[in-house]
């Protein structure tokens, strides 16, 4: 017989070791699809490493890719801590991005020190607003937020297309469904000459630090964790559970909105409907790999960004589809899930059934 028994003291080494092991295993498993595609895995891994660490430019590209993932990873991690399943970061990202171009593409011609903070605030606000409806429907009607946030992603994407063919369309854009460019003074300054990495990364890192501190040290963080661990007990202890949920919903939505701000005002400069290759969904993987810890989110985002940038570069060099990156990312999620089980329980072989 096999028996499953909870470990008495889940060790801290597991908390760090398992995500790292999951990342390594998922990369190793990528050898299977690589072989199936007729590529030499060793060469392919070499190309991937070169594509991420081979030059300053490559590193800058990786950091650029990690920036939105830190935002969406934080959005998922904080919400999941409270057991609020916000799967709508993809939609909230686009709400933030729309707010940026609505105000920043010439509607308000203010100096940078006014325009840039305004863009950031409005983008975060738009994302937060996008999370209010699903939270209200959950609290008031018991409608599962997983389903409502997922469906809202599709609604917001269609709304975005409507805006890009309507009020937000660039009048000089020859009819393409894209917005007018954000004014120069509304752009987040780049961090390095001739590189794409921009100051959105700094904002992301600062927010990760604040989130880590608040979660571990503040009353707010304590309440959030209490609600996530046992909502009924938290309510009994006098915590206003609904207020906590709305609070974390707003913060989660705002962080996802900031991913949109950072991509438009930091990188692209204008908005199209393919701004995000699924940053919202990948943020969930980032959060899970991070064990829902904000500092862990930064590390996990760097790893996932390396996978994407490395696979892109490998794909260009060897002709293997860059969907390999999505494959590695999804496998790392499943690996870390199983790893979490091994950290919490141990599997024993027993001679007879214990009664």
């Amino acid at each position: 017989m096999i028996r499953i028994e909870p470990r008495e003291n889940p060790s801290r080494a597991f908390a760090v070791g398992i995500p790292i092991l999951s990342a390594v295993i998922s990369l190793a498993l990528a050898a299977i699809p690589l072989l199936a595609a007729g590529a030499n895995p060793i060469t392919a891994y070499g190309e991937m490493i070169r594509g991420v660490f081979g030059s300053v430019f490559a590193l800058s590209e990786m950091l650029t890719r990690a920036t939105p993932l830190i935002f969406t990873g934080l959005a998922a991690a904080l919400a999941f801590r409270a057991k609020l399943w916000n799967i709508g970061a993809e939609g909230q990202l686009y709400l933030g991005a729309m707010a940026v171009v609505a105000i920043g593409s010439g509607y308000l011609d203010a100096p940078g020190f006014v325009l840039l903070p305004l863009i950031i605030l409005l983008g975060a606000g738009a994302g937060a607003a996008g999370m209010m409806a699903p939270t209200y429907l959950k609290v008031r009607f018991g409608a599962d937020e997983v389903v409502t946030t997922l469906l809202l992603n599709f609604i917001i994407l269609i709304f975005l297309q409507m805006m890009l063919e309507g009020p937000l369309q660039d009048p000089m854009g020859l009819g393409w469904p894209q917005s007018a460019p954000v004014l120069d003074q509304g752009m987040l300054p780049p961090l390095m000459e001739r590189m794409r990495v921009h100051s959105g990364l700094i904002i992301a890192l600062v927010l990760a630090g604040i989130a880590q501190f608040m979660l571990a040290r503040s009353v707010w963080g304590f309440k959030l964790r209490a609600v996530g661990e046992n909502a009924a007990a938290a309510r009994h202890a006098g915590i206003n559970v609904n207020r906590s949920l709305f609070g974390v919903a707003a913060i989660s939505g705002a962080l996802a909105g900031l991913a949109g701000v950072s991509e438009v005002a930091g990188l692209k400069g204008y908005l199209t409907s393919d701004l995000s290759p699924g940053f919202g969904y990948t943020g969930i993987v980032v959060a899970m790999l991070a064990g829902l810890s904000p500092v862990g989110v930064v590390v996990a985002a760097l790893f996932i960004a390396s996978v994407f940038v490395g696979a892109d570069s490998m794909s260009r060099a060897m002709g293997v589809s860059s969907f390999l990156a999505d494959l590695v990312v999804s496998m790392s999620l499943l690996c870390v899930l199983v790893g979490g089980f091994l950290a919490k329980y141990r599997i024993l072989r027993t001679k007879e059934v214990a009664s």
Partner: protein
């Protein structure tokens, strides 16, 4: 107003409604079986993709249409088995595992498709299921075009509604599946295998979900595109709550959704000048949320849904 009435009375409208509803019927039934056994399967969106891809690819490789249907079901069952192992004996988060399955199944499908067809700009087409032509019945006024000129997969979906209803309500197996979703301890006390019943239900349900995907590439369209599932799986997760986990109401919910979707396409062409087309495209998703909100309050969730159960632990 007359236009609306004309649409609602037309044969083509109702035929389109049933056609649009078909993948959802498969999907809602699949989700229903999983959730009745106590397991939420958010892998549905990815299982749709894998069903669409495998069904299409099997036919493209020369397996024949029913070979494609089998390939899709088998692929769906395989990803269902993965979800089952993670959520039943290991008791891991059904939300996270399901989302992981969706990401995994989708990326496996896309990678396989791209690797098999590296530089294809226009996707290769297959000869899809044709509309049945049943002597006499197909020529009936109204009912003929609506019911009897659909493809075999639509009929399979309708048959599945009856089959799932029968198994769930009239067989010992169905009673056991429902019991395992309500009170696994009682099932265990009767000497039945909780793990076995739950794993079996997830595998069977996932195979049905994959057929919903297969309908897209083998009946509705004749090729595989990236992003073609487009949230249909998530819609099914909303509809199964709306249907309060009953096969008959699942059929009703899917048809209602199909009718609404067919209506929005027609209104879009009628009123395209007045309102942007996207307003109509949004409508089905908004409808799903509304249906969920209406149903959620009184929803009689399977009592052990989302609660893992371990043998020998009370």
């Amino acid at each position: 107003m007359m236009d609306l009435l004309n649409i609602l009375l037309s044969e083509s409208f109702w035929a389109a409604s049933l056609r649009i509803a078909t993948p959802l019927i498969f999907g809602v039934l699949g989700a229903l079986i999983c959730e009745r056994a106590g397991i939420l399967n958010l892998g549905i969106e990815g299982i749709f993709v894998v069903g669409a891809m495998c069904g299409w690819m099997a036919v493209w490789l020369g397996a024949g249409l029913w070979g494609g249907v089998l390939a899709a079901a088998a692929a769906g069952a395989l990803f269902g088995l993965l979800h089952a192992v993670l959520t039943v004996p290991l008791g891991l988060s059904q939300h996270v595992s399901g989302l992981g399955i969706t990401l995994f199944a989708t990326s496996v499908s896309y990678f396989t498709y791209r690797t098999a067809l590296p530089d294809v700009s226009s996707p290769p087409r297959i000869e899809p299921f044709r509309a049945l032509d049943i002597p006499l019945l197909s020529d009936l006024p109204f009912l003929g075009p609506v019911l009897f000129q659909q493809t075999a997969l639509t009929w399979l979906a309708l048959l599945m509604v009856a089959l799932v209803w029968y198994v769930m309500n009239r067989t010992a197996l169905g009673v056991a599946i429902q019991a395992v979703g309500d009170n696994p301890d009682s099932v265990d006390a009767q000497g039945l295998s909780v793990y076995g019943l739950r794993i079996g239900a997830i595998v069977a349900g996932s195979a049905l979900m994959a057929l919903g995907g297969a309908f897209l590439t083998m009946s509705a369209f004749d090729a595989f595109f990236f992003g073609m599932v487009n949230g249909r799986g998530w819609v099914c997760i909303a509809l199964v709550i709306f249907a309060s986990w009953r096969p008959g109401k699942a059929l009703f919910g899917a048809l209602l959704f199909g009718a609404f979707d067919a209506l929005q396409v027609r209104l879009q062409t009628e009123m395209g000048a007045l309102v942007p087309g996207q307003v109509f495209l949004m409508a089905p998703y908004i409808l799903s949320i509304i249906a969920l909100v209406i149903a959620a309050r009184s929803a009689d969730y399977p009592r052990a849904l989302l609660t893992p159960w371990f043998k020998g632990q009370r």
